[in-house]
Amino acid sequence: MEARAIRMKLVKAVCHRCLVGLRVLCRRRSLLIGTSILVVVSLCTVLAPIISKYDPLAINFRDQLQAPSVRHFFGTDNYGRDIFSRVVYGARVSLVVGATTMLFTGFLGFVLGSLAGYHSVLDNIIMRSMDMLMALPAILLAIAIMAILGPSALNAVIALSIVYLPRTARIVRGSTLAVREQGFVEAARAVGAKDGWIIWRHILPNCLAPLMVQQTVVFAYAVLTEAALSFLGVGAPPPVPSWGNILSEARELIRIAPWASIFPGAAIILTVVALNLIGDGLRDQLDPYLKGRMSSWDGG
């Protein structure tokens, strides 16, 4: 009986949270638009085999360089491959690489940032290493790392995680430094709480707002940089389509088949705009003080 009551309470709490989330979503226009676009793009990637009737890898020389039409929504490339299918399937690589990079940098950035902020001994070592990584343009660092690891989607995740780690670690460190001096942390320390517990129980919840905002930015950056890496030929290798390598192949066709470049690019822009809007909306919602003060695009 008691277990059932607890379960009911839990369900009620979850429903309440969902309702609050929905209400926030509806109140913040940018959050609503951004989330809607991202949901549609994600659904397209999941339902790719249903919504696209062509195999993205199927070569068909009879349909070479067809302009957009009812048969081929986005036209075809020089191998007669349907660009709509390639864009929809290509979203899988781009979104998975972006989302995984976001999770990796979020986790590692939190660990390194909180350690640097909490332990002054580790601070110098960690932050100077981060400074060193930030002294290079993101794309240069990513190319250099990809040169070591070799071109693949997984290696792109590793390279992008290293590239965007310093930005996340910096933000977590900043929040940790602010929280560390608060009375409740001192109280926890006074009653003998271990460092790990304090970081988990007190530092993490207080870092979560800026961390979430930063990670949507990392997601957006990762999508853009992965496309750039694939475009340069050091990202996810063909024939598996990714937005970057579709654009790379379409580069030679820009004079005769501009649609082969325009649509994959538009897909990248749409996704990144959505992530950008989510970032802006989250920032306004989670920390109104930050609104307008912190640019979500602090370089890369």
Binding site: L136, A147, V234, G292
Partner: protein
Amino acid sequence: MAAYLVRRLLWALLILFMLSIFAFVMVRLIPGDPVVLLLGLEASEESLVAARESLGLDRPLVLAYGDWLAGIARGDLGVSIFQRKAVWQLLWAKIPVTFTLATAGLLLALLIGIPAGIAAALKYDSWFDTTVMFGSTLGLSMPSFWLGLVLIFTFSVRFRWFPSGGYVSLTEDFVEGVRRLCLPAFSIGIIQAALIARMTRSSMLEILWKDYIRTARAKGLQERIVLLKHALRNALIPIVTTVGMVYGVLLGGAIIIETVFTIPGTGRLLITAVCTRDYPIIQGVILLFGLTYAVMNLLVDVLYVSINPTITYS
């Protein structure tokens, strides 16, 4: 101030030193033997050993790093494995190209971004403000290489206003040089213009509400003077701090855009070096970009003080 700058200089040197270790160790981890690439798969074991010895690739990592560092101190970045030329010589030929492109991008970004940001702040919450903000969100979400392709299609293929690629030095033929620079510089500049417009807008908005602006208006100053002398000067401070960073991003953008517009700059040199495992060039490019970042940030610190003399460093 001087003590602060010395401290910053030492800091920059430390970062560069760490970067040199990183560049050296990382580049040696790249799989594939450059000597095999150089001599081909059919090369005999003896010739491979001899080539490794002559290029110094057989030396232990620490000793090789020591040699490399000593070389850098003498201004020698090593010799390219494939092109058989001094890395410094190769970089020297490509640096002006990439830096001209990045500088043109920065100028465009500032020329478009700052006025757009100021106008948006002055017309806060109007259709103009919304348009600038939407435009900047769009600009920030755009891959520069895609924009480059669209510009080539529109202005080179359709209207034939600009050439679709190549590079002509500005000292050789200024007009042709500028014509060839327009599209690539716009491709990378407009994205940073979006960032600068956003920052200028928010910085201006914050300052326009300050008491001293109200006082300046109350004492009957012309609006132009209030905006330019009182508001903009203070609003520029956070923007100046980002110029160093923006320049770094533009250099990165130049690496990609050089490929789109077939510009023979550092980016193309780097991509070729990565494909051929030409270690010394990769190391040289990494150090060069790191050095640029450090110098730009030092310059920003100096510029900071000249814009706002109330800032003191202790």
